[in-house]
């Protein structure tokens, strides 16, 4: 059998880091981190997207920097050093948004400076970037950030669709749709998130089942091979 088993031998380390960050270890779906911006700003898909983009940028900058200086920071003071770095990048992003994306800056308001305390960012700096090469840290930041953005846009889209009948400002359900205010309000965020998490769990279970099936088939074929050999001999 020349067939590769993806579980045993990673085809590509970077692809694995990416898949892990985007899906298997997704900030929202798997780790349930960063709930504050997730529930706070996702009243529309657009807000979710820009919040995710700002977080993605902060994550890339902090992961890359932390990875580059990982040898130079003594373990005892690494947390204050990381927080200072993250806070500096987030402030730079905040100032830039204020300057060049003034309207979105006004909408996201307080949640932009709050990226500093998004534990997902410090978490990646501590758990990944401080132990890995800059390139791998960059891939990890990209995957984690895109996964986070994906979750925010998904939740924002669902809430906007149910709450206002629109997605990204485009009318979906028509003018007669009775807006369900609850989905725009905070309880709607929790309820929608619950259903999304349930959906993610179903997908994961199906993926697992398929993998088990493949493994079983593979094992079956191997035994057959052995049987054939035995018969021939």
């Amino acid at each position: 059998m020349q067939c590769h088993d993806p579980n045993e031998k990673p085809v590509n380390q970077k692809a694995e880091i990416f898949a892990n960050g985007f899906w298997h270890n997704n900030t929202i779906f798997a780790q349930l981190l960063g709930m504050c911006p997730l529930l706070g700003v996702t009243t529309s898909a657009e807000n979710g997207f820009w919040m995710g983009a700002a977080t993605l940028l902060a994550l890339i900058c902090s992961n890359l920097t932390v990875s580059l200086i990982r040898g130079a920071i003594p373990a005892n003071v690494r947390i204050p050093a990381y927080i200072t770095i993250i806070a500096a990048f987030v402030s730079m992003i905040e100032m830039s948004m204020n300057a060049w994306m003034h309207e979105m800056y006004l909408i996201l308001g307080l949640f932009i400076p709050l990226i500093v305390v998004n534990c997902a960012i410090l978490g990646r700096a501590e758990a990944f970037a401080s132990k890995n090469t800059p390139i791998n840290s960059l891939v990890d930041a990209l995957a984690m950030g895109l996964g986070f953005t994906f979750a925010l846009v998904l939740l924002g889209g669902v809430r906007e669709l149910l709450g206002q009948g629109e997605v990204f400002g485009f009318d979906i359900f028509g003018a007669d749709y009775p807006d369900v205010l609850m989905f725009i309000l905070p309880p709607g965020a929790f309820i929608a998130l619950g259903f999304i998490l349930a959906g993610v769990n179903i997908i994961n279970r199906n993926m697992e089942a398929r993998k088990d099936k493949q493994a079983a088939m593979l094992a079956n074929m191997q035994t057959k091979d052995v049987n054939t050999v035995e018969i021939q001999s």
Binding site: I69, I73, P74, A81, T84, M95, H102, I107
Partner: protein
């Protein structure tokens, strides 16, 4: 107490991180200062265009600064004029210090008789989806139009007034209503001074060839 090598390492590492981050922030500040001012000016201009009626002058440059509270910065009044140069509306910014999340900045435009032409919120940090109705809820914003101190009860409905609160957010509209009311009261006090001097100023400007 003696600082050993390891401790020096920590001190220097944190110091370097701090200094580099500060330099980065200072640089960003230098580069974003002008665009931020420009963006704010643009936002003010857009907001002014929304609150002012048709006018035949440039309200951004037709202004007067008056100190109302001696320990605060002077308030800038923007004038909107008819074709015959009479003032039809005066706009200025008020601040509601008691929003749900910090101050709310409101641009209000008032006719010389003390009735409101329109109001708009220019800056706030209220909760998205709840308190930020003060920027998005146009029927609510329009409910201020033509109201004056004499023809409205200046409170939200929950407090026995004429203005709606939002579902899940009372504090935000309450702060806005209060700030606009205070703005109107202030206007009544300084009205004669504001209008008289401005008319004179205009006459003086016209007298000049």
């Amino acid at each position: 107490m003696k600082i050993d090598r390891e401790q020096w390492h920590m001190i220097i590492a944190l110091l370097v991180v701090g200094v580099v981050c500060t330099l980065l922030l200072a640089t960003t500040n230098i580069f974003t200062k002008a665009p931020i001012a420009q963006a704010e000016r643009q936002a003010l201009m857009d907001a002014l265009m929304q609150v002012l009626p048709e006018h035949h002058n440039d309200p951004i440059s037709d202004t007067r600064d008056i100190t109302i509270d001696s320990d605060k910065k002077p308030t800038r009044f923007y004038f909107s004029r008819n074709e015959d140069n009479t003032i039809n509306t005066i706009a200025w910014q008020v601040t509601a210090p008691d929003g749900y999340n910090g101050s709310i900045h409101i641009l209000m435009a008032v006719h010389p008789d003390g009735s409101i032409n329109a109001i708009r919120v220019t800056d706030h940090k209220e909760t998205p989806g709840l308190g930020d109705g003060i920027t998005k809820n146009h029927p609510w914003l329009d409910s201020f139009d033509n109201k004056s101190l004499n023809n409205a009860r200046w409170a939200v409905k929950k407090d026995g007034g004429d203005f709606d609160q939002f579902t899940g957010a009372t504090i935000t509209p309450r702060a806005v209503v209060k700030a606009v009311k205070k703005g109107l009261e202030m206007f009544t006090k300084i009205k004669s001074k504001l209008l008289k001097k401005t008319q004179q100023q205009t006459e003086a400007q016209h007298a000049m060839p």
